[in-house]
């Protein structure tokens, strides 16, 4: 018993200060894409072919990157001119599929639920998670929200064991042929009104398995989606940020906003401090 108390003392208090304080992410983290300069007028639109997941399109001479298809690859082969890089901003969740079509500038972060559903779920949201062909990456990053670092429960959000107890379905994976009916049955079993959240590139548009005949291109063809959280897999803070935005629980202080603008300097400051990282 004494040993257990001693251990408790040693392990310390570890719950993060999010959302009051912004998480410190590693310098090599790949978040919101950044586009260097303009596409040259004589661009041969190689990106449309070079991205293996067809995430790039050239529209009226502008590069449009579909974050729903993008895997945030470290070795992004899409632009031979190297215009595409990934920044440090982890906030990526949106409400509409077309909001994921990004060509620089301000990113249309998720707006809260409409008043009726917000009133119902704003202070208590119970989610049923279903993996339908997910690789256990997105699942792991949802699971981790339950640990004491994130402590999802303090926001009134909880993963529940039965669809009958759930207000929303959180889906990962591209929806395999073999899981399609189970996904639909789970949705049917939830009492209305309900919400649907697609987490990860697979759930949004099929991810790396887009071209397989054994999967659906994500959840869109099957169910109405209320929140899209892109990434492969999304960082836990990306998921948490999205959930909180949906519930109108995310207020951005001015210091946070300016810190995010200088994402790079945050990272290097963290390197100099010798890496006392509080995020998980």
């Amino acid at each position: 018993m004494l040993q257990m108390i001693r251990e408790r003392w040693r392990q310390g208090f570890r719950t993060g200060k999010f959302p009051k304080e912004e998480p410190i992410l590693p310098p090599r983290f790949r978040g919101l894409p950044q586009f260097a300069g303009e596409c040259p007028p004589d661009c041969d639109r190689a990106c449309e072919v070079l991205c293996p997941f067809s995430a790039c399109k050239s529209v009226d001479g502008r590069l449009v990157l579909d974050l729903g298809r993008c895997l945030f690859c470290a070795d992004c082969p899409a632009c031979p001119q190297g215009r595409i890089t990934f920044g440090n901003d982890y906030r990526l969740a949106v409400r509409q599929r077309q909001d994921l079509l990004y060509s620089g500038g301000e990113y249309p972060l998720a707006q809260p639920l409409e008043p009726e559903r917000l009133k119902l779920f704003g202070r208590s949201l119970k989610l049923r998670q279903v993996s339908a062909g997910g690789c256990n990456g997105c699942e792991a990053d949802c699971n981790v929200l339950g640990t004491l670092v994130f402590d999802l429960g303090r926001f009134g959000i909880q993963f529940v064991a039965s669809p009958r107890h759930a207000d929303g379905l959180l889906l990962t994976g591209p929806v395999t042929e073999n899981m399609r009916s189970a996904v639909l049955a789970t949705y049917e079993a939830m009492p209305a009104p309900k919400i649907v959240i697609a987490v990860g590139a697979c759930g949004i548009n099929g991810g790396p398995f887009l071209h397989s005949s054994e999967v659906s291109p994500g959840l869109d063809p099957l169910l109405p989606v209320d929140l899209y959280i892109p990434g492969c897999p999304p960082h836990p803070y990306t998921i948490l940020d999205g959930l909180l935005r949906l519930l109108d629980r995310r207020e951005l202080s001015s210091s946070t906003a300016s810190a995010l603008e200088y994402g790079e300097s945050i990272s290097f400051a963290h390197l100099r401090r010798g890496g006392t990282v509080t995020n998980k």
Partner: protein, 509 residues
């Protein structure tokens, strides 16, 4: 019978296909049984459509001879039916079911011939079970083994489970609380990966390899890269070898520590549950410091690695590791010291050594039954050739033994990280990978955190992939879980299941 004189190859090697004789089926069978009798184990067995007009199927079996650090290759041809080897060699049971499902051929006399992943055969118009070839099979639609009698009842669980966990179906035959038999039916996660690889590698292949099982991103990514490097004769620079091993051990640490925490949670021992849940993230964040992704996406690339590790970052990572190490050891000590924990773990889900060997179990599950299986030890590549000598086994074969294997491997891996991190070579981190050799076969064995990950590639005359076989450790080990549940209380299933912690998507592919 022909004498055993097969082509041998080492981990990470390729050989020309023409060197591998095509045996008569009877010789193939005799050789395979003899190999297994001499303690060889079937690392991979798969079919591939014979070249040209022939409707025959070629079968390849790769038998790992652990003590000689090599793999023996056997090859034969079969028609629409062939005599099953499973009755005399239980290791073959899932491989034969897989071949039946993929190519519509029937292994005659297979005692348990049921679909594995519920997809249409790759060859049009055939099906080993006579299911209509023009519709997608319905997952879970098969005859389950059933026990009848007074007081016997059946419990069906899944595919959707009560937690954040992948889907699978479990069918228990119970007498009261006691489980007489558990049948596991998977395939819900089937994404068709092996089929998408035909004629590859494609631009999307690397990303698919990293998501075969997302928690084994490094393990599967590494196996794939080693196969490509073998087929193209690429020499991976020393520094890249070190960074790869570092990432593989970090992956092992994150998952083992997470598993110890989850095991603690399953028996309601909350201190270790809480600490390890957090510590798992600390290890993942070390991987993220290296490559930006907590799961190591983008790190391992054909020819080397995608991210460099300079001495400053290495020093910083080791400093962070020191802090995490103390907390990890502390969290595990209170766990293995608590009588309430020991009484729940000891004797639960026991597997005998002979069952583990018969089923060809690998990784943590095998090591817990005193079966030495570790490709870092028996088939080392890269830095493991001179750095790894600490093969962990336990004797009791129960949930306790599986927990102990993990905890002891945690200390070994931390030591390995330290040794790798303090002796990083200088030099480049990536070498160019040329075109793949035509008509060749290559194998890679990587000891992922669950156990041995096997990738085998077969190229055609054009140097493209004619067949690519992936064997996740879970492929073998799910059968071990089913056997471990016999005569256990059904209420102990979560505990036993977690003590194996197998991958659904790694099995389903």
């Amino acid at each position: 019978m022909k004498t055993l004189n097969p082509q041998l190859l080492k981990n990470g090697e390729a050989i020309a296909l023409e060197l591998v004789d095509t045996l008569d089926f009877d010789d193939f069978r005799d050789c395979l049984l003899e190999e297994v009798r001499k303690q060889g184990r079937v690392a991979a067995c798969f079919g591939v459509s014979a070249a040209g007009e022939s409707s025959e199927l070629e079968l390849f079996a790769l038998v790992a001879r652990d003590r000689n650090a090599c793999v023996a290759v056997y090859r034969t041809r079969v028609g629409e039916r062939f005599p099953s080897l499973t009755p005399s060699c239980p290791q073959m049971h899932l491989f034969e079911r897989e071949i039946a499902e993929q190519y519509g051929v029937v292994p005659e006399g297979h005692p348990w011939l049921k679909p594995l992943r519920f997809h249409n055969a790759w060859r049009p118009g055939v099906d080993a079970w006579g299911r209509p070839a023009d519709q997608h099979p319905r997952s879970g639609e098969m005859e389950f083994y059933q026990v009848e009698g007074e007081g016997v009842h059946e419990v069906a669980v899944g595919p959707v489970h009560a937690g954040i966990i992948e889907p699978g179906h479990f069918r228990f035959q119970c007498y009261g609380e006691k489980v007489m038999h558990l049948e596991i039916s998977l395939g819900y996660q089937h994404r068709g990966i092996e089929r998408m690889l035909l004629n590859g590698p494609h631009p999307a292949t690397m990303a698919q390899m990293e998501t075969i099982a997302g928690d084994t991103t490094i393990g599967h990514g590494l196996a794939y890269c080693q196969v490509l490097e073998a087929l193209s004769g690429c020499e991976v620079p020393a520094k890249a070898q070190s960074i790869r091993a570092l990432a593989l051990e970090l992956e092992r640490l994150a998952n083992h520590v997470g598993d110890i925490g989850a095991l603690a949670g399953d028996v309601g021992f909350l201190p270790t549950f809480s600490y390890c849940g957090r510590l798992r993230g600390d290890y993942l964040n070390l991987t993220a410091a290296l490559c930006g992704s907590r799961f190591g996406r983008g790190l391992v690339r054909p020819g080397g690695v995608g991210f460099d590790l300079d001495p400053v970052l290495a020093g910083e990572m080791l400093a962070r590791l020191k802090g995490i190490e103390g907390n990890t050891i502390g969290a595990m000590e209170i766990f293995f010291d608590a009588p309430s924990v020991l009484s729940r773990f000891e004797g639960r889900g026991r597997l005998s050594r002979s069952v583990a060997e018969d089923l060809g179990l690998v990784g943590v599950a095998a090591k817990a039954c005193a079966v030495p299986r570790d490709s870092r030890f028996f088939h080392p590549t890269g830095v493991y050739r001179h750095l790894f000598d600490d093969l962990i086994t336990e004797e009791t074969g129960d949930a306790m033994a599986r927990a102990k294997v993990r905890s002891r491997e945690i200390t070994v891996s931390i030591e390995l990280l330290r040794r790798i991190g303090t002796s990083l070579p200088e030099g480049p981190i990536r070498a160019p990978v040329g075109p793949l050799k035509a008509d060749a076969l290559a194998i890679a064995l990587v000891e992922g955190w669950r156990g041995e990950v096997v990738h085998v590639a077969l190229t055609g005359g054009d140097g493209r992939l004619r067949r690519y076989k992936i064997v996740d450790p879970s492929f073998h080990n799910w059968s071990g879980l089913a056997m471990a549940m016999r005569d256990e209380q059904i209420s102990d299933f979560p505990l036993c299941n977690k003590s194996f912690n197998l991958s659904y998507c790694g099995f389903d592919l």
